[in-house]
Symmetry: C2
DNA sequence: CCAAAAGTGTTGCAATTACACCCATGG
DNA sequence: CCATGGGTGTAATTGCAACACTTTTGG
């Protein structure tokens, strides 16, 4: 038996935390379908290209970072697959399957508009989630799934460090948790948990006073893949 | 820009627990490529068909249950998407993207060989995981990912009930956990956790002596989607 | 009666929370 | 000296593992 050929695309949920706000990168579509509407950045997988490779290419096009090329010395961006969406009729161009990826980036310079985007902007996640009609295609569902994944993974993985610069303070790390989860955390207990959890963060010895008050130690992400014990919400 | 057309398939990781053994349904391929080798059941997505619909169709073909048709009164089988695999070169027939699904079924009658399968058998999961060369394509990776997902979800979701018949005892439920995790659990503490966790299981009043000894209460799965608190491994 | 499996009570350790308190800087 | 944020100590509580013990059947 032969197969029915289909289009395969990747869509990206690029998340960041800026000044205590949890935001997603959206584009205003410059070409049909859904021209002029907000959507997740994405594009078709090319013939010889792997799925993650496509996602990294799109990420680089939109943000200017994270291309997986050996030639690039850009910071390593966290990128993971979330799910695949393939209902017939989800794209008016024909039968298109979309593999959604979640990317977590630190505070970045202004986003760049890609080829199919009239413009690109950081928008607060909560605002978009509260308005199911805001996004084109089935992108509201994709965003919902990706954000849920991110929120869950903060608990048991060191993923939050992906939102931070190379060097960060415990407060900055806590700010990530507070922004993503949308709840305040006790700074004193958080400090203990973050620093005592094996392999989560490693102290650099240096300090900074960029947040005012007593100088804070600087840390880099550790080597742990999972957090024991996990950080809990609430 | 137009897209490069590709084949889209679903592959199924169908898991069950039989007599304390955690097993996966494999087929011996009856057609090329990889004719004669073991593989996960799967097949191409048809033109007007949704991804999950394809998975349910394949599941019904292999096991005779769980088709999503309204006409079917077969039991509802747990089916969830795991991940999508799309490296160029993973399938010699051309560029094929495969969406992997995880299905959990209760102890079932003998499996049926589908159209592309010479035969189908239940094989212990541990045995297959220990032998990376056993499966065709990249199916060892898919199985690894799916089993990891299943093991993790037992902790915080009522998924284990999907391996049980409609009515089950606490011991039978514990047997599922022990088989999937591969470790023994304290029957007394497990009983408390399972029955005290809100919405996990609901007592039916009836009892059974099918396991010997004192009669055990029968339960049905509850309505909870997540377990609070979770059941922990170790 | 004994064996086997179901189910309950209790105890002690470990993790977590809530918050009092001290530290180090800038203004 | 005060405000601000960084960081430590500690008591009350909760959660959980370990295991003694009781219950209800079959043989």
């Amino acid at each position: 038996m032969d197969f029915d050929p289909m289009g395969v695309a990747t869509d990206l949920v690029i998340l960041t935390v800026q000044g205590g706000s949890f935001e997603v990168l959206l584009i205003r579509r410059g070409i049909p379908p859904h021209r002029g509407r907000w959507a997740l950045p994405g594009g078709f997988v090319r013939a010889g290209e792997g799925l993650e490779q496509t996602a990294r290419r799109e990420l680089a096009e939109e943000t200017g970072v994270g291309s997986g090329d050996a030639s690039s010395d850009a910071p390593r961006i966290h990128l993971e697959q979330v799910a695949t969406y393939g209902e017939p009729g989800r794209d008016p161009r024909g039968r298109v399957i979309s593999v959604a990826y979640l990317a977590l980036v630190p505070d970045l310079p202004t986003p760049v508009a890609g080829s199919d985007a009239a413009s690109a902007s950081w928008i607060p996640v909560a605002e978009v989630l509260d308005d199911p009609g805001r996004l084109a295609f089935d992108h509201h569902r994709i965003l919902t799934d990706a954000v849920e994944r991110a929120r869950a993974k903060l608990e048991y993985s060191p993923l939050a460090t992906a939102f931070c610069a190379d060097e960060f303070t415990v407060s900055e790390l806590r700010g990530v948790y507070e922004a993503v989860w949308g709840i305040p955390l006790d700074p004193r207990n958080f400090h203990r948990k973050a620093t005592r959890t094996e392999g989560f963060v490693v102290p650099l010895g240096a300090t900074t006073t960029r947040d005012g008050g007593r100088p804070a130690q600087l840390f880099r992400r550790g080597s742990a893949e999972t957090l024991h014990p996990p950080l809990t919400r609430g």
